[in-house]
Every structure is written in C-alpha cells, then in structure tokens.
Amino acid sequence: MKQKMSQLTAPISGKTVTLLSVAGLYKSFRMGDSVISVLKGLDLTVKSGEFIAIEGRSGTGKSTLLHIMGALDVADSGRIEYADRNIADLSGNARSRLRNTEFGFVFQFYHLLPELNVLENVLISAMVEHSVRGFLSRRSDLRERAIALLKQFGLENRLKHRPSHLSGGERQRVAIARALMNRPKVLFADEPTGNLDVETGRQIMGVLEKLHQQQSQTIIMVTHDRTLARQADRVLVLKHGKLENAEF
C-alpha cells in the first residue's frame, strides 16, 4: 500500500511542479438513517500539465472527489491545497473565484444554458469574471477568444445556434470551450463521454488529449471506461474510498 501511495505522489518526468494536492480527504452522505462513507482519507497529488484519469465503479465517489477538488463541494475533513491555499478554508466567494478563474468543468450532461446561444455559453465564464464595464471594454478580445476556441473545436458555423439545435458531441465541445474560456489551470472532466456514442466519445477524448499534449493543460478526468482512461498519463482507481494506481 505504501508503495502504491508513493506511486500516487511520485513525480512524473519533466513535470515536477505540484499544482494540487489532496490529503486525508473524508466525505460521507446521509441516506435516511444510514451514513455512507465514500471517501476515506484519500490522498492525491496532481502535477502541472498532468492528465489524470480516475476510474472506478458507479457510486464509488469519483464525481464527489472531482467536485471537492474543483471547489464545487466541500469535504467532511481533509486538505485540498491549491496555490498554497487550503481550498477547504476558503470563503464561498473565494471558492467561486477559484472556479471561475483557475478551474474549468466539463460535465457528462454538458450543462449548457438553454437560453443562450453557443457563443454566449462560451462567453458566460468571462461574463462572470468581469464587471459590465470590464466586459464591455474587453468585449472584442473576449469574443475573439471564444470564437477561436469554438473554431478550434470545429464549431465556427454554430455560433448563433441554441444548445437544443446541437448534437451531443457538439454540445460537449461547447462545454469544453466554455471550460477553457478563462484559461483554467486545471480542467475537471466528469464522465465527459458518458452520454455520447463510442465514435463521438473518441472525438471528445481526442480533443482532451490534444489540449493536454499541445497546450500542457492539466486535466483530471473521471470515467468508468477503462479504454478511455488509458489515454491519460496516469490512471487511478477509486476503491473503498481511496485511490490506487490502476493495474492493466
């Protein structure tokens, strides 16, 4: 076990800067009268530029871990250190700021705002970051960046379309573009292909891989698909509330 732990925190060649570290993370849920513990003293270190896949069976707490690391949820106890700060100690507003400027999220069900078109959905992160004046003064730059991202993902002809007019793969690419809009340090992907057919899923994985390889984007992805997980630098398995290195 100790050996496994050392492997979990071991430096990866050429990527030695620790970006995010998790230590002694506990999280449980109350279901009626019973308490279900999903994370039981979990540890993890994420290096800058790493692509980590976390796999595990349904209900093992993969998404919960991702949400806690991404400051969307809170743990019962434990430390999540990012940029020399314990996320668990941050105020609600500071956590929101972190989600807006440092982290990006891609969800299984895309989660796009139905009233906004593709371009607006991508720009929403920038809108959250800036005040009205700030946004308007940088409007053309921000718009240019959003369009560039959408172009990168082959959606340049879909700018004015509403999410309901897009295919699943297109929606997920819009979601990735939105997550990347504010240049996040860490991209959290929660079952990004879980709602897509095999071919489209492969395309989305291709997009993530490309981001990782060409732009050294740090990605933490949760999946239950071992084949997809293998495309990451490191594959970890969440089992009994703790992470282990995957054995292939």
Partner: protein, 455 residues
C-alpha cells in the same frame, strides 16, 4: 455582466416571465385607473364644492336667515384678510318653464357681480361666462314672445342649472342645448319666510316671472340638476326677507373669499368676532342662530365621507399589492424551480451566491420596471380616454358605471396625479423585488452539485 445578460435573456425567452409582466402591468394599470378616478373625484369634489362657496361662510341655522348682514358685510370687507364677500339666500321653489317643465328646485339668490368675486360661479356659465349678469339680451324680442306682454322686458333674468332644462351629454359626450333656451320664460313660485314664529308663510306665495338668460354647468350634479339662480334682491323680496317697517332685511349666508395666502381658519376667527359683536349689539343671538365656518367645516360631512372612502380604497390597494407580491412570489418560485439547473451551471463557472440572488432580484426588478412602465402607459391611456370609453360602453354594450346622481359629477375625472403615479410605479417595482426576494434567496443558497443534478 452575466447577471444583466441572463436577466435580459430570461425576460425575452421565458414565457412565464411574460405572465408576471402581464400581472404587474394589469395591477399597475388598474391601480392607476382606480386611484386617478377616485382621487380625481375627491379632488374635483373639493375643488367644485369649494368653488361654489366662499372660503369662510357666515351661515344661518334656520330658514329665517339673519338680519344686519349689510353691517356685517361692511365690517368684514374692511378686514385686510378679506378679498370679497357676498350675501346669499337659499330656498326652495316650484318652477314652470314654458308650461313644459314643472319641477321643484333649489333657489339660490345672490348679487351676481359680488358672488363672482367670491367663488367660481362665473366659470360655470355658458353665454355670460365673461360678463356674468342676470341682464336680458338686447337682441331677444321679449315683448313678442307669447304670451306677449309689453312689460316683458321688465322681468328679471334667471340662470338655470343645466340639468333643469335637460342639458345633458349626448352619445358622443357633447352637450345638447334645447333650442329656444334663451327666449324661454320661467315662473318661480316661492313661499314667504316670516322673520317671526314658524318661518314659512304657506298662505303667502309669490309667483315671479323670469326670462332664462343662461345656464350654469358646475359639473356638480346636485347643483346642475335641481338649482336655479336669481337676483338677490328679487328673491329677498319674494321671500319677504327685505326690510319691512321695523323689520330689517335678512339673508341666509354671507360667503367670504380671503386673500391669496391667507389661511381661512385664521380669517374665520376675525370674521366670527365681527359677527359676534353685531349679534350682541342687536341682541339677536337667540332669535337668529348663526354659525361661522370655513368651507371645509361647512362641508365636513361630505368631505369626511369621501375621506373615509379614500381610506377604504387605500386599504383595498394594500390588499391588492399583497396579492400582487404573492403572485410574483409564486411565479418566481416556479421560475427558480425551473431554472435550478441553470443556477448550478452559473455557480460551476464561478457565480457567487450573491450573484445568483442578484440575477433573480434583478429579474424581479426588470419585471417590475417594465411591467410598471407598461402599466403606466395602459393606465394613462385608459384614464385619458375614460369618458370616451365610458360613453362607448354605454352606447355599444349598455353598461353605465358612472352615474352622476351617485358621484355628484357628470364627467369621470380623467387627470393623472404625477406624484401618485410615481408612487404606484415605485410600489410595482418594489413589490416585484419583494416577491422575488424569497425565491432569489433560495436560489442563492442552492448547492451547485444538487442544482446540477436536479431533474
């Protein structure tokens, strides 16, 4: 920025928002219409009744009237606070106009050149608006009008209330003046009022022939439908209230106008002192009870009733506002419920709790502002054209809501008070924000993960 953007999008794309917008619009328009009409009614009531009397009234408590009014008038007019004063006699009589209209009427007698300095009677006239008088017209051949009489031109002139001779608005809202009105004779039968004993002398009636020289339209139904105006000296003589032997001449009222900027209540004290002095001087307090009142005190019963109505109205509008707030609360609760996933999404990209609350409060504010603005427009149009609308409803649908005999005026008030309207729109905005407050707080407190998982 995202708050403004989402508010604008929700306002445009969410049809349920249009329901709340419609609700706010209708509530605002309704309150503006009702408050303008009822408030306008109260203002018209005050203005009209004040316009028909002086600021201060020396009033007899009996039909007998009171004597020494000339002495009182002389002393009152010398007061620096007083602009003008006029004696007025009020009684009842039977009128016969050309043997066509026979009716019981209120008869008001005053020196017209004096009364127009005291109140707004002159403005209610038609042909003699600019030169109010009871004088006959040079171009009317009174001597030749049957029953022809060579002394016809010696008869006094009479001004009739518009309703007495059947002047009413037609279907288009225009006044219909009967032909030959200015060549019509009228005889007025009055009963003498003795200065002694019971007052009315039923065995001593006076029938005086008059010529109708104009009609008065004060817009106060009670006056316009049942009142005729005649020269003071004539009615005083017919009622036997003129000086006779030892008996001094009498009047019923003295109406007094105070100078601009003078408080009638303050002037009343000085006027009362004069009246009391003269009453004491002639020792007539027991025989001729006299009251000195401001016009508001004189009309206290009417004004009090309307003030009560206004209080009731305010209470009802309070209830309406609560209903509106509750309605907006329900709609916003539904919107928040429906947009739960959106709340999770915007929180996942970094929106704060306050920011999420701001979206829904801003949404409520926008609905209040747009709905209030639209309600103001609709309300303004309805109030502006309410008389035309009412006339059309009466003609096309047979619905008559505004009855002059009930509301005292033959036209529905159609003026909008700016301050009232601003308050109403402000209340609409505040109500919308208050209605959105609880749902917005609920949205702000939502856990982003639970919101994202919400189905």
């Amino acid at each position: 920025m995202y708050k403004l953007h989402l508010i604008f999008k929700y306002l445009r794309k969410r049809r349920i928002a249009w329901v709340s917008l419609l609700a706010v619009t209708l509530c605002t328009a309704m309150v503006i219409v009702v408050l303008s009409v009822m408030g306008g009614w109260l203002r018209m009531f005050r203005a009209s009744f004040h316009g028909l009397t002086g600021d201060v009234i020396v009033e007899s408590r009996s039909l007998t009237g009171f004597p020494f009014y000339q002495q009182m008038l002389g002393d009152i007019e010398k007061l620096p606070e007083v602009e003008a004063a006029a004696p007025v006699i009020r009684t009842f009589g039977l009128i016969n106009i050309r043997n066509v209209i026979r009716d019981g009427v209120q008869v008001i007698g005053f020196p017209i050149d004096q009364i127009v300095k005291v109140n707004d009677f002159g403005a209610s006239l038609n042909r003699k608006k600019n030169h109010p008088s009871f004088s006959l017209y040079d171009d009317v051949p009174y001597e030749l009008i049957p029953p022809a009489n060579k002394d016809a031109r010696k008869r006094p002139g009479m001004i009739v209330g518009a309703g007495v001779v059947g002047i009413r608005k037609d279907g288009e809202g225009k006044l219909e003046v009967p032909p030959g009105l200015y060549e019509a004779w009228a005889s007025l039968t009055l009963l003498g009022i003795s200065g002694e004993g019971s007052g009315l002398d039923v065995g001593d009636k006076e029938v005086t022939p008059y010529w109708i020289v104009d009609y008065s339209r004060t817009q106060v139904w009670q006056y316009d439908s049942k009142t005729v105006y005649v020269p003071f000296a004539q009615v005083q003589k017919d009622l036997h209230m003129d000086a006779f032997g030892e008996e001094p001449a009498r009047t019923h009222d003295i109406q007094i106008k105070v100078k601009p900027g003078i408080d009638p209540a303050a002037a009343k004290i000085k006027i009362k002192a004069i009246v009391d002095r003269i009453v004491t001087e002639h020792d007539i307090s027991f025989k001729y009870p006299i009251a000195v009142e401001t016009w508001e005190e004189s009309q206290a019963m009417w004004l009090g009733a309307i003030e009560n109505e206004k209080s009731l109205m305010t209470f009802l509008f309070g209830l309406i506002s609560i209903v509106a707030i509750f309605m907006i609360f329900c709609i916003f609760y539904m919107i928040v419920q429906e947009k739960t996933k959106d709340i999770g999404i915007v929180k996942s990209v970094g929106a704060t709790n306050a920011g999420v609350a701001g979206i829904f409060l801003g949404y409520g504010f926008a609905i209040g502002l747009v709905g209030g603005g639209m309600g103001l427009g609709v309300g303004y149009l309805i109030v502006r054209y309410i008389n035309e609308l009412h006339t059309w409803m009466g003609r096309a649908l047979g619905i008559v809501i505004w009855k002059p005999e009930v509301y005292a005026f033959d036209t529905i008030p159609n003026t909008i008070n700016r301050t009232e309207v601003l308050v109403i729109v402000a209340v609409a905005v505040v109500s919308s924000v208050v209605g959105a407050l609880v749902p917005a707080t609920r949205a702000a407190r939502m856990n982003p993960i639970e919101a994202l998982r919400w189905e």
